[in-house]
Structures are given as structure tokens and as C-alpha cells.
């Protein structure tokens, strides 16, 4: 059963759930952020339309900076803009920024502690036919170890807009990860969002799924299906991968005793890793990981690839059963 406080859409799991890419939420959010704060500027690396900056460019032409295919400059130049008091949103595909610009993000933005927002679109294998070169599935892993960095992976277009606004408001470096493909819009304007806070979408006590990004929807579907099997599964949306909402993770481990993490990212170094690192020291708990198993992506249709790489609803259900079985095994011992 859904947590009422999560205020999910009535048709969240229905066939007619509206579909929109999370990058659309960014496009709406950054325009709103710019209206609120004149310091907000957008820096673009030759991807105005696909990073959803057309409206911003039209409304704020003087605050739109085109740098061309210069991803290292995108990050380093933005550090300079921020030093002069701007709040730059630097936008590209996640593969190129932060991917190509990692050292500039690390040294020029984070070590400098300047207020730059990194917008990585087209993250995940769901980029689809473009193939492995453009499927950023290592981006969270390369951002997580950098001190001062906040990381957000919104679950749908509505949350993406809220995350964009919240990023503009917070002070400090922030990476927000968006997807190219249309995915279900299942949260509402009323759904709470706060950087650093996870939200329980569905109550449950037999196992807990902790997920981020559009796959949260698959997690909800899996939990609903498992209810029919008598498994009562909690679903937690954890859009902020860093700083992790440790209280929510600890409560999930304590109450449910079995954890499954779900993300459209390499299992290595992602949300699952963050959860495991925390629980290993605070409350070791059986955990299963749904994500890309340390292989490169490939061309295909987006949803086909989600299934191919083991992140579909059936895979999440399997992972929950495994985690619950390990929990049962443990309580016997």
C-alpha cells in the first residue's frame, strides 16, 4: 500500500500513467530557477535542444552561454563564472560532463568549492540505440568520492523539476542526473522533495527496496506484484545518492532486515554501494544489487536494454526474493 504522505499520482501504476523524460523536468525547473534568482546562468556545450535548454535560451538570451563541444571548458569556465557570483548550470550528456570533465569537476569546481550545478543528461542504458559510447553508467561512481559533491538522480519529470530548483537554491557543487527517454510520471507536485531526504513510497516490513532514478517505478511495480505472493515490501525513493539519507537506510535495515538497491547505473560505485558502505559499518544486512553488472551497454530499444541488463520488474522481484531468503536463512542460524 502506498504511503499516503508520498502523495503519489492516483494512476501511478496504471497503464495510462503519463510519460515524460526527466530532462524535461530540468528544462522547466531551470527556467523557474532563473526567474527566482538572477544569478542563474546556463552554459551549454552544443546540445541546447537535447539538454532541454531551448526555453531558457529564448527567455534569458543574455544568461545563456554557448561554449561549443568543450566539455572540459564547460566545467572549468563555469568555475570562473561561479567565482564571479554566478550560479552556472553546466549542461551536456553525462558521458561528457562529468564524464570527460572529471578532473575539472573535481579540482576546479569541488576543490575550489564553487557553486556550480552539473546537469548530466542521457544517463543510463536507456539512451538506447546510440549505444555504449553514450550510455553513462559510471557517472555516479565517479562523482561519489569527490568531497563537497551532492548527487541527485530524480525518479520522474516532476521530481526532476523540484531537484533542479532545489539545486539552484543550495550552495555548493551539485550533480543532477537526467534521462533521455520518456518514463512514467508517478509523483505529483505535492510529493515531498528535499535534498538529502529519502521518501518511503510504499510501506512494508519483509524487505526494503531502495531505488533512485526512473527505475523507482519498476521497484513499485515489483513490490505490488510481490504483495500477491505474500511479501510485504517497502519501497524507498532515494533521489539524493549523496549525502545518503542514512536514517532512512538504517530504518529500512532495522525494520525489514533485507535490502535491495535498484539503479540504472553500474552496480560498482552507485547507490547500492553507498547503501552497502553505510550498512556494513552500522547494521550489516543482506543486500541484493539491481544495476548493470560491470559490463558496457549496447544499442537497443530503451526498455529492451533495461530488461537485457537485468533491471526489469522481474529482476527486481527475483532480487527481493533472494534478499528475503537470505534474511530467513540468517534468522535460522
Amino acid at each position: 500500500m502506498f504511503n499516503k504522505n508520498a502523495k503519489l499520482a492516483d494512476n501511478a501504476l496504471a497503464a495510462d500513467v503519463p510519460m515524460k523524460p526527466t530532462r524535461d523536468g530540468y528544462g522547466l525547473g531551470v527556467v523557474e530557477a532563473a526567474k527566482i534568482d538572477p544569478r542563474v546562468v546556463v552554459v551549454c556545450a552544443d546540445l541546447t535542444e537535447s539538454t532541454r535548454n531551448l526555453d531558457f535560451k529564448k527567455l534569458f538570451p543574455d544568461r545563456f552561454v554557448q561554449v561549443g563541444v568543450h566539455e572540459q571548458f564547460l566545467a572549468a569556465g563555469a568555475a570562473g563564472l561561479a567565482m564571479a557570483g554566478k550560479i552556472p548550470f553546466i549542461t551536456s550528456y553525462a558521458m561528457f560532463c562529468p564524464g570527460r570533465a572529471w578532473e575539472q569537476v573535481r579540482t576546479n569546481i569541488c576543490l575550489n568549492d564553487v557553486n556550480v550545478k552539473i546537469v548530466g543528461s542521457h544517463a543510463g542504458v536507456s539512451v538506447g540505440p546510440d549505444g555504449a559510447t553514450h550510455q553513462a553508467i559510471e557517472d555516479i561512481a565517479i562523482m561519489r568520492p569527490i568531497p563537497r559533491m551532492t548527487i541527485i538522480a530524480p525518479c520522474d519529470a516532476v521530481e526532476a523539476k523540484k531537484a533542479t530548483l532545489a539545486a539552484a537554491k543550495m550552495v555548493g557543487p551539485c550533480y543532477i542526473r537526467f534521462a533521455r527517454e520518456k518514463t512514467p510520471v508517478f509523483t505529483t507536485e505535492e510529493t515531498p522533495f528535499e535534498i538529502g531526504k529519502a521518501l518511503t513510497l510504499r510501506e512494508g516490513k519483509d524487505a526494503a527496496i531502495i531505488a533512485c532514478g526512473p527505475l523507482v517505478h519498476n521497484a513499485l511495480k515489483a513490490a505490488e506484484a510481490l504483495a500477491a505472493e505474500g511479501l510485504d515490501v517497502r519501497v524507498i525513493n532515494s533521489p539524493t545518492v549523496k549525502p545518503l539519507d542514512e536514517a532512512a537506510v538504517l530504518a529500512a535495515a532495522t525494520d525489514c532486515g533485507a535490502i535491495v538497491t535498484v539503479e540504472e547505473h553500474q552496480i560498482t560505485g552507485g547507490l547500492g554501494g553507498a547503501v552497502a558502505e553505510y550498512l556494513a559499518k552500522s547494521r550489516p544486512t543482506p543486500q541484493e544489487f539491481v544495476g548493470v553488472p560491470n559490463v558496457f551497454g549496447e544499442s537497443g530499444e530503451p526498455m529492451q536494454l533495461i530488461e537485457h541488463f537485468g533491471m526489469g520488474v522481474s529482476h527486481i522481484k527475483e532480487a527481493v526474493r533472494r534478499a528475503a531468503a537470505r534474511k530467513a536463512e540468517r534468522s535460522k542460524g
Partner: protein
């Protein structure tokens, strides 16, 4: 050819000499660090901090200050020396260079040292940040200028050329890129490692206004900075020809002194030579 008063020339030359002495004592005390570049750039830094820049050592965050980005962060001993002499922090603090807990990190850090402007060391990233600053100043109609101090060796980094293209496109005439053209880098001569000449032509092709000067002649450095203020609607590049290790006989033009620890007696000899030069400067100008 320029109207710099002799008293000002003497003051700047003596300042450069003092900065060189600080470089030797602080790097010798740290037992590691870079000497060649900092010594070669001493005259430029004397002119920057004591003649050219609009800045306030007591108010390093002054909003309308000129920004000086040190891109070749490894040469920070010369910036630290200039900042100490200018009054940003006590001269004694130079003896904390590269020590645990010091504000004077082996490569400079913005969050630790007020007035450092940026964190640098990884080469090729300074001009990009300076271009971002200059662009923001233009957006806001601000009059302050941005200076990027760069090495010639770091011109091999691709990011630097990205910044050159950007500054040229947006005609950032409030941006000055100074190149310490000393023809050395860690592994040897720049023209052997990865040739950069004709460097002037490259900048001009990127829509920059180029000025060349003798970077070890304070008169000529001042002249270059004056010319850099003539409005051309182009970013300005000053190719400052310098002698690495300038002022210490055994270091001059020897690429090994990009950075190497002093052997016993070497720092003392360097200081003796610099003090002799100081006396000579005082005598000449008397």
C-alpha cells in the same frame, strides 16, 4: 619609450629581488618545491602586485579587485612571496610553505588562502577559469580585469586551447593571458618535448591581440601591461620572454631547476648572489 619614473623602476627591481630571496628561503625551508619558474617570473609578479593590479591586501575579497589567476600553480612560491610582501599575510608565514596545516599549500588553494583566487596545479585549467571570470564581468558591466598567469609548457593541454577559442569568440578584452615563455618544462626544452612556436601566430589566429616583452625587464613588463589596456575588442596575450632561474647563476636556463631539492650550500649560494644583486641595485640607483 615609456615614462616609468626611475624611482619606480628601482622600487620594482628591488621588490623583484626580494621576492626571489623569499622564493629561495621558502623552498629551501620546505625541502621541496619549484624554483626555476618562480625566479623567472619574479619581475612580472613585482609589477603585477606593486604596480599593475587594483587590489587590497587587507580586503582580499574586495568585489571590484582585479583577478589574478595563477594557472601554473606549481610556481606558487613567487605568488606567495608577492602576497606576503604586499601584506596579505606575514612574511614569516612563508616558512610554512608545504607544511601540514599551512595556508600555503604546495599548490595553491582558494579555500585556504584568501586572495589566492583559485586552486591550481593541474596544468591548462587557469585560462578557462579566467575566461569565465572575464565573461561574468562583462555580463555585469564590471570594470575589473582578469589576468591569467600561465606557463608555456601548459600550453600543451587541450583545455587551454578551448579557453583560447572561447575568449576569442566573445572578444574578452578584459582578459589578459600572460605567458611565462621560458622554453623549459619538466622533461627538457619545450620545442623538443612538443613545439609551441610560432606561439604568437597561434594566438593571433585565435583572434587574440599579442604583445611580446622581456619578462625580466620591469620597464618592458610595465610597457606591455599599458599596451594591454588599449581597447582592441580582443583578449590580450602577453608573451613574456623570461630566463628560468633568473638571478641565480647555476639555475639560469637549466631545465633541471624546474624543480629539484637544494643540495647543501646551494640555497646559501643563491641567496648570496641575490643579496649581491640587491646591493648593486641600491648602489646603481643611488
Amino acid at each position: 619609450m615609456n615614462h616609468l619614473h626611475e624611482d619606480e623602476v628601482k622600487r620594482l627591481e628591488l621588490t623583484a629581488n626580494k621576492l626571489r630571496q623569499h622564493v629561495i628561503t621558502s623552498v629551501a625551508n620546505a625541502k621541496s618545491g619549484h624554483q626555476g619558474g618562480p625566479l623567472g617570473m619574479a619581475d612580472i609578479f613585482a609589477v603585477l602586485y606593486f604596480h599593475e593590479l587594483r587590489h587590497d591586501p587587507k580586503n582580499p575579497d574586495w568585489e571590484d579587485r582585479d583577478r589574478l589567476i595563477l594557472s601554473n600553480g606549481h610556481t606558487c612560491p613567487i605568488r606567495y612571496a608577492a602576497m606576503a610582501e604586499a601584506g596579505y599575510f606575514p612574511v614569516d608565514e612563508l616558512m610554512t610553505l608545504r607544511k601540514l596545516g599551512s595556508r600555503l599549500q604546495g599548490h595553491p588553494e582558494r579555500t585556504r588562502l584568501p586572495g589566492a583566487e583559485t586552486t591550481s596545479g593541474p596544468l591548462g585549467a587557469g585560462l578557462a577559469q579566467a575566461a569565465g571570470l572575464a565573461y561574468a564581468a562583462k555580463m555585469d558591466g564590471k570594470k575589473w580585469r582578469t589576468y591569467a598567469m600561465t606557463s608555456d609548457g601548459e600550453h600543451e593541454a587541450g583545455l587551454h586551447w578551448e579557453a583560447m577559442l572561447f575568449a576569442g569568440k566573445y572578444r574578452l578584452d578584459n582578459l589578459v593571458c600572460i605567458i611565462d615563455r621560458n622554453y623549459i618544462q619538466i622533461d627538457g626544452k619545450t620545442e623538443n618535448i612538443m613545439p609551441l612556436d610560432p606561439l604568437r601566430d597561434k594566438y593571433e589566429a585565435f583572434n587574440w591581440h599579442v604583445i611580446e616583452c622581456n619578462g625580466n625587464d620591469v620597464r618592458d613588463v610595465v610597457r606591455a601591461f599599458e599596451e594591454a589596456k588599449a581597447p582592441e575588442q580582443k583578449p590580450i596575450c602577453i608573451i613574456a620572454h623570461t630566463i628560468p632561474g633568473k638571478g641565480v647563476s647555476y639555475m639560469e636556463n637549466n631545465y633541471l631547476w624546474h624543480s629539484q631539492p637544494f643540495k647543501p650550500g646551494e640555497a646559501e649560494q643563491a641567496l648570496a648572489e641575490l643579496r649581491a644583486e640587491e646591493e648593486k641595485l641600491n648602489a646603481d640607483h643611488r
